[in-house]
Symmetry: C2
Subunit: 597 residues, 2 copies
C-alpha cells in the first residue's frame, strides 16, 4: 500500500469532529466557503502530494541543488514541479481576493500543505517562503512595491526569501550589520552578507525577492535600529530586469532538506545593490515577526508532516514484515509473525502516533486561533484568539521539532537494519527533521520566548486563556464519560502549570531573570506535554462521544483512546520531575565554569 | 585547538584514579605489563588516531565504499590506512603470546581502540571484525583451521566478518536457513544468502573469512540446529588461493559508517562454496555468542567514542563562537560573548559530558570485569566477574547507543545552522551513531536479554553482585564526604531496582512472560540510569578524595562533581516513573490492535 503521508481519516476527525472547522464560515471573510470547498482543497492537495510531489522526493534528496558557476542549479525535477505547485494555488491561498488570493482559512491550507510537506518538504519550501515574503509587502509595503514585487510573487512568477541571519550574528538579530544608505531615487544602497538563506538562489523563476534586515546609516544600535528591505535579485530598469548586485557566495551542504538550497548571499559587492524600505525605518523586527511567526507555525507543521510520513511508513512495514514469533511460541517451525505483533514494536508505533496526532491536533487548534484572530467579528474574540495563537506558536514549533525527531528515529528503528539504508526512506526523513529544532529560532530561543515573554505578558492573560480552554476540554471529557483519572490528571497538570509559572514569574519580577529562565527548556517541555495532554483528552472525549453514539468505526476511535491513554499515563507524569527541576533550579549547569568541562 | 577525540585526562582518571587498572598486572597473564606499558599503548593509539585516522574520516564519509563490477572498492584512503592499523598491533592485542598476541588487558585495548573509533569508526571496524572472527577460530577451531585461517587474520593479512543475518530472518537467528551439506573431504558445501555483512567484501587484503551461521542437512529446526562455519572468500587448492563461490550480491547505501561496506553475500550460487565447521555441529549459537558479546561491548565503546568526539567538537565550538549577550546585558554595542556563556548551551554540554563520561566509566568497569573473568587466579573471582560482565553487556551496548544518539543530536544543536551542514562534522557523527541501537541486537532485544535472562539467572545472583558493587561505591562516597543526599539517592535507587526486579521476576515465574517483559525497554532505561548513577557517584567520590587531599586540578574535579550532580538530580529521579510503568504494566500498547493504528 502506498504511503498516505497523512491519515485522511484523522484529518477529517480533527477538522470536523473535534474542531468543527466548518463553523469558520460564519466569519464574513470565509462566507463563500463551506465544508465542500474545504474538502475539495484537501482532496486536490492529497492527490498532488501523493502522485506528483512524493515521487520526486528521493531523486531530489540524492542530487541536491548545487552551485554551478555563480548561481544555483536546482534538481531538474524541481523545475518541473514549481509551475505545478503554483497551479495548486497555495502561494496566496489564505490571502484576500483583492491580491489574488482565495481567502481560505489557515486551518484548511495548513492541512493541505501538510500533505505536500510530508511528500516533499523542500519543494513546498519555495512556496511557503514566497508566500511569507509577499505577505510582508502586502502588509507593510507601498502600493508601488506591491505592484512591483508582491504581485509577481503571489502570481508564482517570482519567489521570495527571508534574509535575516548573518555570519557574525547567527540568531542574535540585534547584531545585524547589513548597511543601507538612502539615495535620492527612493531606494537604498545595500551592502552586507547573509547566510543560510533558503531558496536564496535558483534557476526556476526569473527573479527572487529577498526580505532582508539591515540598518540605515546612523540608525541606533541594537534591535531598535533594524529596518526591513525588499531586495530583488534583479531590479527593473526602463521596463527590463537587470542584475541588482546580489550574489550567491556559496551553497551549504546539508544533512537534509536537500531539494532546496541554503546559500550565503552578498548584497552590494559592487556598490550597486538597490533595496526598498518596507514600512517605516527602524521597525524591521516588528514587521519581520509577522513572517517569522508564520514561518514558525510552518516549521511546526513541517515537523509534524515529516514525523507523519515516517510513522505511516513504519506502520506499513510493521504490518507486512514477518520476523520472529510471540514470546510464548515454542515451535520454531511455526511461521514468523509480522513485527507489529511484538509489543515493543507497538510501543514504538503508539509513541509515534501519540506524537504525530497529538501535535497535529495542537497545530489545527492553533491554526483555528490564527483564523479567529484574523477574521472574528468582534475585537474581543480576535484579541482572545491572538493571545492563544501567540502562546501556542513556540509550542507548535518546538514540541513538533523535538518530539518529531524522536518519532522519526523510532521509524528508523522499526525498520531495523533496513532503516539505516537509503534503500528505504526513514533515514532521509530523520535527516530532514533535525533542522526543525534549529531554523526559525532554536528550541532554547522558543523556550525563552514562552517563559520570558508569552506566559508573563498582560499579567498572564494568555496563560489564563489556556486554562479556560483546558477547563472546557475537561468538562467535555467528563460529560463524554472519559475515565475520571484521565480527566483529573489533566486538571491537575493545568493547575501545576499555573502554580509553577507564578513561582517563576515572581523570580523575574524580583529581577532574578537568570534563575527564572535557567530551566526554560524544561519548562517548555513541561508546558508542551500538558498542552498535548489537553489535545489528547479532547480527542478522547470525541472518541467516547462517537462510541457511545454507536457511530461505528470502533477501531479508529479505540486507537484514539489507546494513544490518549499512552500520553496521559506515560508522558504526562514526567511533568512533576520537570516542575521540580524548574522550581529548585537544579544548578549544575548554572554553576559549571568554562574551564571545568 | 584540534579535537582530542577523547579527553586524555579523563582516561587517566578512570584508569588509574577510579579503577586502579595497574592492579591487573597481579594476574599472571598480565605479569609482563605495568602502567608504563599501558601508557605507551594509549599514547601510540592517540597519536595514530589524531594524526592518521581522523584526517581520513571526512573523505571516507563523502565517498563511500562501493560496488564496482562484482566486488567492493573501498576508499583509496582505506587501502593506505589498513596496513598502518595492522602495524598498531590491535588485531591480536588481547590475545595470548602463542597466537601472536600481546596479552594486553581488555581495559587498555578498549580505551586505545576508543580513540581510533572516535577518529574513524569505519576504519577501525575492519580490525574489530577480524579480531572477533579470528578469536572464534582460536577458541573453537581445529589446529588446521587455526593455521589456515586464524593465523593470517591475526597477522593482518586477511580480514574476517560475522555473517549471521539473513533477509528472511533479520534478528531472528532461529530462522537461519543457510544450508551446509557434508562432504567426504572434510568441508561442507554451503548455500545461502546473508545481508548486512560489514566488511563482507573489500579490495584491501587477499582474502576474507566469513564466520557464518548455517544448518547442516537434517539438523533440528530452530536455534538448536544452527552450526558455525568458517567460509573464506578464497580457498586454498594445492597451495594457491582460488575463488570459493562467495559472491557480493550488492552493497547497501547507508546513512553513516560509510567507510566500511555493508553488503549482501551469496554462498554457493555455483554449488561450489566450501565451508569448514567450527567446533561441534548444532552449537553455533553458543559459540557465536563469544563474538557477539565482544561485538556488543565494541558497539557500546563505539557509541561512546562517537558521542565523545562530537562532545569535544561542540565544546570547542561553544568556547570560541561569539553570539549574543548575557540576559542581563542591556548594551547592544557591548561585544558578543562565546556561546558557552549561555546557560542553555552549558546545559547541552553538561548533558553530553554526563552521558559520555558516565558511559565511559561503565565501559571501563565492564572491561575490567572481562579481564578479571578471563584471568583472575581463582574460579570464584572469575565467576563473579563473568556474571557482572554478562549483566553489564546489554547496558553498555544499549545505553551508550540510545543516550549517545541524544548526545550527538545536542552536538549538532550547539552548532546551530552550521551543525546542519556537512562543512562541520557533527551531522556525520549523528548519522554514524544511529546504527548503534540497531546492529548487534536492537535495544529491545537487549532489554529482553537483561530482564528476561541476565537479572533472573542463578536466582538473581548477578543482580545481587551489582548491589554489592553499588554498596561498595556508596561506602566509598560516604567516606569521601560526598553530599549525603546524593549517596542516599543511589542507595535508594539500588533498592528500587531490586524490588522491581523481584516483582517482575514473580510475574515470569507465574508464567506471565508477556506482562513481565511488556516494559522491558523502560526497565533497561531505568536499570541503565541507576548503573550510570553508580558510576557517577564513584567518580564523585574520587573527585572529593582528590580535592580533600589538595591534589590540585580543581577545575577537573569540580567538573566531575557538576556532572555527577546533573546525573543524580536530573536523570536519576526519572526512575520512579519508569518503575511505576513497569509495575502497573500501563497497557496501552499491549491493548492496541493492528487495525486501531
Amino acid at each position: 500500500m502506498a504511503n498516505p503521508l497523512v491519515a485522511d481519516r484523522n484529518v477529517e476527525f480533527l477538522l470536523y469532529e473535534v474542531f468543527r472547522a466548518e463553523e469558520l464560515c460564519r466569519f464574513p471573510a470565509y462566507a463563500d466557503h463551506s465544508r465542500e470547498t474545504f474538502d475539495l482543497v484537501l482532496q486536490n492537495a492529497r492527490k498532488f502530494a501523493r502522485e506528483v510531489l512524493l515521487p520526486a522526493y528521493k531523486p531530489m534528496d540524492e542530487a541536491p541543488a548545487r552551485l554551478v558557476g555563480t548561481g544555483i542549479a536546482v534538481h531538474p525535477a524541481m523545475k518541473q514541479l514549481y509551475p505545478k505547485l503554483v497551479e495548486q494555488g497555495m502561494v496566496a491561498a489564505t490571502r484576500p481576493y483583492e491580491v489574488g488570493g482565495q481567502q481560505l482559512p489557515h486551518v484548511v491550507t495548513c492541512l493541505a500543505t501538510l500533505y505536500g510537506m510530508a511528500a516533499n518538504l523542500s519543494a513546498v519550501g519555495y512556496i511557503g517562503l514566497t508566500s511569507g515574503a509577499a505577505h510582508l509587502i502586502e502588509a507593510f509595503g507601498t502600493d508601488a512595491l506591491k505592484a512591483e514585487m508582491m504581485a509577481p510573487m503571489y502570481a508564482g512568477k517570482w519567489t521570495g526569501t527571508m534574509a535575516l541571519t548573518e555570519p557574525q550574528a547567527g540568531s542574535s538579530l540585534t547584531d545585524v550589520k547589513t548597511a543601507a544608505t538612502p539615495t535620492d531615487a527612493g531606494h537604498y544602497l545595500v551592502r552586507g552578507s547573509k547566510v543560510f538563506i533558503s531558496g536564496g538562489d535558483q534557476d526556476i523563476t526569473e527573479n527572487i525577492v529577498h526580505l532582508a534586515l539591515g540598518r540605515i546609516d546612523g540608525a541606533p544600535p541594537g534591535i531598535k535600529g533594524v529596518s526591513l528591505f525588499a531586495i530583488p535579485k534583479k531590479r527593473r530598469e526602463k521596463g527590463d530586469l537587470v542584475p541588482n548586485d546580489v550574489h550567491c557566495a556559496g551553497a551549504f551542504h546539508k544533512m537534509g532538506w536537500r531539494g532546496i538550497p541554503s546559500i550565503a548571499l552578498n548584497f552590494g559587492e559592487g556598490g550597486d545593490c538597490h533595496g526598498w524600505l518596507v514600512g517605516e525605518p527602524n521597525r524591521g523586527i516588528s514587521y519581520m515577526f509577522q513572517m517569522m511567526n508564520e514561518a514558525r507555525l510552518m516549521v511546526g507543521m513541517n515537523a509534524i508532516a515529516t514525523a507523519s510520513v515516517a510513522y505511516n511508513e513504519s506502520l506499513e512495514y510493521a504490518r507486512t514484515r514477518p520476523q520472529g514469533r510471540p514470546l510464548s511460541a515454542k515451535n520454531p517451525a511455526a511461521p514468523q509473525v509480522p513485527i507489529i505483533e511484538h509489543a515493543d514494536v507497538r510501543r514504538m508505533l503508539l509513541r509515534q502516533k501519540a506524537i504525530v496526532e497529538g501535535a497535529l491536533s495542537l497545530g489545527v487548534q492553533t491554526a483555528l486561533y490564527a483564523d479567529t484572530a484574523a477574521h472574528a467579528p468582534t475585537p474581543e474574540e480576535r484579541r482572545r484568539a491572538f493571545l492563544l495563537l501567540e502562546i501556542m506558536t513556540p509550542i507548535v514549533k518546538s514540541f513538533s521539532a523535538e518530539k518529531g525527531f524522536e518519532s522519526n528515529a523510532l521509524a528508523v528503528q522499526i525498520h531495523g537494519g533496513y532503516g539505516y539504508t537509503s534503500e528505504y526512506l526513514p533515514e532521509a526523513w530523520l535527516r530532514d527533521q533535525k533542522l526543525n529544532s534549529i531554523h526559525e529560532g532554536t528550541t532554547c530561543m522558543h523556550s525563552m520566548d514562552l517563559l520570558g515573554r508569552k506566559v508573563v505578558a498582560d499579567q498572564g492573560k494568555a496563560l489564563q486563556l489556556v486554562g479556560d480552554e483546558i477547563a472546557a476540554a475537561t468538562k467535555r471529557a467528563r460529560a463524554a464519560g472519559v475515565d475520571a483519572d484521565w480527566v483529573a490528571a489533566v486538571d491537575r497538570a493545568a493547575a501545576l502549570v499555573g502554580d509553577l509559572t507564578l513561582t517563576l514569574g515572581a523570580l523575574g519580577m524580583a529581577g532574578k531573570v537568570d534563575a527564572m529562565l535557567l530551566h526554560s527548556v524544561d519548562y517548555l517541555d513541561l508546558f508542551s506535554t500538558v498542552v498535548v495532554a489537553w489535545q489528547w483528552l479532547l480527542q478522547a472525549a470525541v472518541a467516547k462521544e462517537k462510541l457511545s453514539a454507536g457511530a461505528g468505526e470502533t477501531a479508529f476511535y479505540e486507537g484514539k483512546l489507546c494513544a490518549a491513554e499512552y500520553w496521559l499515563k506515560t508522558e504526562l507524569p514526567r511533568i512533576d520531575h520537570l516542575a521540580h527541576l524548574c522550581r529548585t533550579g537544579e544548578t549544575s549547569y548554572a554553576r559549571i565554569e568554562n574551564a571545568w568541562f
